[in-house]
């Protein structure tokens, strides 16, 4: 390199990390690594996602550009908050700093299933679902499809001002869609198969926001029963193979789809060529009520079956779901999903996220995260950042330039906070909605107090009105 700095190994931490105290590694995925750190000044917890280096010669990875771009455009209480983007100029790697969230739905569900042996209380289920839908409604109103919703991507804040608040995370596969019916230019595998919508499994090329709603339906069922609703075995051959087993699991529960109920079914590639004889296969003894624990006549059951509607055009939208009767009846959903619903009820102490303190910031120590991996769940260990912070304050912008004992690091910090839209809550101003955010902003205003859910979103009380 011609900039006069010699390249560095993995020994020295980047200079900008000096504003953080590294705690350890908390996650690992195809995208890279996630670390837990505390800000040196305020001791806020920060999750730092390090992007894997893109292939040599490809430049900045498109996934990183898209994810950061989307996070820059979003500002919502139920969407994970990007605090900083750091660039390590030595190896040009990217680090994203998020508010840290202690829990996620994967761990919460697992804790109930494996440790407590009892279901999640109805208030918590409803609050988690309402907030998930609220965040998703915001994304969809901004023409963003998440495409990879699964329990491990739905984070919940730990102790602090935002205790029990849901944050949708991991936008690695998310896209801004141009128009509802336009194909998204994407060929790879999208969405963990257990949560993948039937139209995608049948080869649909056009993604709509309905794929996210299917995933929400699966997550809702899992919150109720503590086990994944459709546990298909993933076929892993060609880049995007036909997932027969996953479809089989769905049909066994919901019955065979018919062109009468789902007119566009006949246009879907895998249905059309019927190589696996999916059209002729007979499924009986079906019925969602046999698989979930809620009464067939209850609003919860009604909402769930509307989310698991085969025809994506008929599937309930996030906005409609938020207005569903289920959310208007007791117990009403609240902002802190983790508080006990009845006074005197036992508080569930969920386990904190396991931290591998032996890993260094480069992630060079090849130690498996101490997190137990439960059998067969593709989602495990795939933790994506984000959340808590006793106060909503965030680290100031720091331009840490190649420091004394770090001659090899030239990190620049791009502080997201002062930009309109991402929100600078410390200013006390209402963040200017970022462009597209306006519609959702307005919808939000109907629902929440005008501070737009930053410092004092005040939604438990308001919301409880319906």
């Amino acid at each position: 390199m011609g900039d006069g700095r010699s390249g560095g190994g993995g020994v020295n931490r980047p200079a900008w990390l000096q504003q953080y105290d590294l705690v350890g590694k908390i996650g690992e995925g195809t995208y890279g690594l996630v670390f837990l750190a505390r800000t040196s000044l305020r001791k806020c917890c920060i999750a730092i996602k390090k992007f894997k280096q893109s292939k040599e010669g490809d430049g900045v990875s498109p996934t990183a550009i898209r994810e950061i771009m989307l996070l820059r455009e979003t500002c919502h209480e139920n969407v994970v908050k990007l605090v900083n983007v750091h660039i390590n100029h030595v190896d040009m790697s990217l680090y994203l700093a998020f508010d840290y969230a202690e829990y996620d739905l994967y761990e919460i569900i697992r804790h109930h299933r494996e440790k407590l042996n009892h279901s999640i209380n109805q208030y918590t289920v409803k609050s988690l679902l309402w907030q998930l839908l609220n965040g998703l409604n915001y994304l969809h109103s901004n023409w963003i499809i998440h495409r990879d919703l699964k329990p491990s991507n739905i984070l919940v804040m730990g102790d602090g001002e935002e205790h029990g608040v849901v944050k949708i995370a991991d936008f690695g596969l998310a896209r801004i869609y141009q128009a509802p019916l336009k194909p998204l230019y994407e060929n790879g595998v999208v969405v963990t198969i257990w949560y993948r919508a039937p139209e995608l499994l049948l080869g649909a090329k056009h993604y709509t926001s309905a794929v996210d709603m299917w995933a929400v339906g699966c997550i809702f069922a899992e919150l109720l029963t503590l086990k994944p609703l459709f546990q298909g075995v993933e076929a892993k051959a060609t880049p995007n193979p036909f997932q027969l087993d996953q479809l089989d699991k769905i049909f066994k529960v919901l019955g065979h789809p018919t062109p009468e109920r789902w007119p566009t079914l006949v246009n879907l590639p895998y249905w059309q060529n019927d190589q696996q004889h999916i059209q002729g296969h007979k499924y009986d003894n079906h019925g969602l009520h046999n698989f979930v624990t809620v009464p067939q006549k209850s609003p919860a059951y009604d909402l769930l079956s509307k989310m698991l509607e085969y025809d994506p055009r008929k599937r309930i939208t996030a906005a409609q779901a938020l207005e569903h009767e289920y959310f208007r009846m007791d117990p009403l959903p609240g902002r802190n999903a983790l508080v006990p619903s009845q006074p005197g009820e036992k508080i569930v102490n969920y386990p904190a996220r396991p931290v591998d303190t032996t890993a260094d910031f480069e992630g060079t120590v090849a130690v498996q995260p101490s997190q137990p991996v439960s059998s067969g769940n593709a989602a495990s260990g795939n933790i994506a950042a984000a959340s808590v912070a006793p106060s909503r304050s965030m680290p100031r912008a720091m331009h840490v330039v190649g420091m004394q004992r770090m001659p090899n690091t030239g990190m620049s910090t791009f502080n997201v906070a002062p930009q309109a839209g991402i929100g600078a809550p410390s200013s006390g101003n209402i963040p200017i909605p970022r462009g597209a955010a306006v519609q959702a902003h307005q919808q939000q205003l109907r629902r929440k107090d005008p501070s737009m859910g930053m410092q004092n979103p005040g939604y438990p009380q308001q919301k409880r009105r319906f």
């Binding site: 390199m1 011609g2 900039d3 700095r5 040599e56 010669g57 490809d58 430049g59 900045v60 498109p62 550009i65 898209r66 950061i68 771009m69 989307l70 820059r72 455009e73 983007v85 660039i87 100029h89 040009m92 901004n142 023409w143 801004i176 141009q178 128009a179 509802p180 019916l181 336009k182 230019y185 060929n187 331009h399 840490v400 330039v401 190649g402 030239g410 990190m411 620049s412 910090t413 791009f414 997201v416 930009q419 309109a420 839209g421 200017i432 909605p433 970022r434 462009g435 597209a436 955010a437 306006v438 519609q439």
Partner: protein, 323 residues
């Protein structure tokens, strides 16, 4: 630099050859290409033209644009920019990228120029070239299905290694604060055409797109909002003789156009008309496009400092052109 004169003239010669080749090729394939472009352009036009969608776009757009036409126009017309735009358009054609990709690359370029003084790269044609490569490469990553390796972006005059391009990409991303999702005029065209015209036809849309691209070399894309450019292009495509008053009255009939500044629309309209007339004149006289700046082959290494200044080191001042 005793031999620099020789180098320059040699390169000029080589580049002229290249250009001639381009011209011949272009002439041969022009018709075919035009058809292909038109198909390509149709795909770019947004099927969704609901009022709700347009509203959302207008809102997003308003958060991006801060420059007024007058404030930036001084900077807008400079040869460095034209050179960069020409390279982007040429490379787009070479790879068969969509028109939107090229347009987005030019938006990145203009946003970059808006945020940074061009002093650091003024007179350094290699730096402009590197910036063009980075902007196009980023646009391709945002818009295209297939993304070529950085090494495939050949420039006639310089060779950049992948690392230099990646550093420039990071500088552009940082300068634009990672807000890479750009609203383009093309998303509005169908909507405006259906509202501003009695007889909307695909011919008008294609003409509007061509008008925009005919002016892209001189029109700074941060000077006008995408919606303003779209409205002006639709008007210019259907009628070349509008006055400020008639533009104003046409605009007032469309609800989604009411938020647009009619002075801006008229100013953009005039620019589009003026540029097409220039273009017509040029083609009728058979003039080739102006020669782009050339220099000897340099291998350029670069770094981006934390304070955002670019420093580039010219590692070798002489390298044989390989083709």
């Amino acid at each position: 630099m005793a031999d620099s004169g020789y180098m320059v003239s040699l390169s000029t010669l080589i580049c002229k050859e290249d250009e001639t080749c381009f011209d011949v090729q272009e002439a041969e394939e022009e018709e075919e290409e035009e058809e292909e472009e038109e198909e390509n352009a149709k795909a770019m036009l947004c099927e969704e033209d609901s009022d709700e969608y347009v509203e959302m776009l207008l809102n997003r757009e308003s958060c991006f644009c801060s420059a007024t036409p007058d404030a930036a126009s001084g900077k807008s017309v400079n040869s460095a920019r034209s050179d960069a735009v020409r390279w982007i358009l040429r490379t787009k054609a070479l790879f068969g990228f969509s028109m939107k990709t090229a347009y987005v690359a030019v938006i990145y370029l203009d946003h970059f120029f808006m945020h940074r003084t061009t002093d650091s790269i003024k007179g350094k044609s290699w730096a402009i070239r590197l910036l063009s490569v980075a902007c196009l490469s980023l646009a391709v990553k945002m818009e295209e299905r297939k993304v070529p390796a950085l090494s495939e972006f050949r420039t006639e005059d310089y060779r950049f290694d992948a690392e230099a391009i990646q550093r420039m990409e990071l500088l552009v991303l940082g300068t634009l604060e990672w807000r890479m999702s750009m609203v383009t005029p093309f998303s509005y065209l169908s909507h405006f055409a259906s509202k501003l015209q009695q007889h909307a036809s695909e011919g008008v849309l294609w003409k509007a797109i061509k008008l925009v691209f005919a002016s892209i070399e001189v029109m700074n894309l941060v000077d006008y909002r995408a919606s303003v450019i779209a409205a002006a292009a639709v008007l210019a495509a259907s009628d070349e003789g509008l006055t400020q008053t008639s533009v104003k009255s046409k605009m007032s009939t469309v609800s989604s156009c009411r938020s647009l500044d009619t002075d801006h629309v008229f100013s953009c309209y005039s620019l589009l008309i003026q540029e097409t007339q220039k273009e017509k004149l040029k083609t009728s006289k058979g003039l080739a496009p102006p020669d782009h700046s050339v220099a000897d082959g340099l291998s350029v290494d670069s770094s981006v400092d934390t304070d955002g200044t670019i420093s580039f080191v010219v590692a070798s001042s002489k390298r044989r052109r390989l083709q």
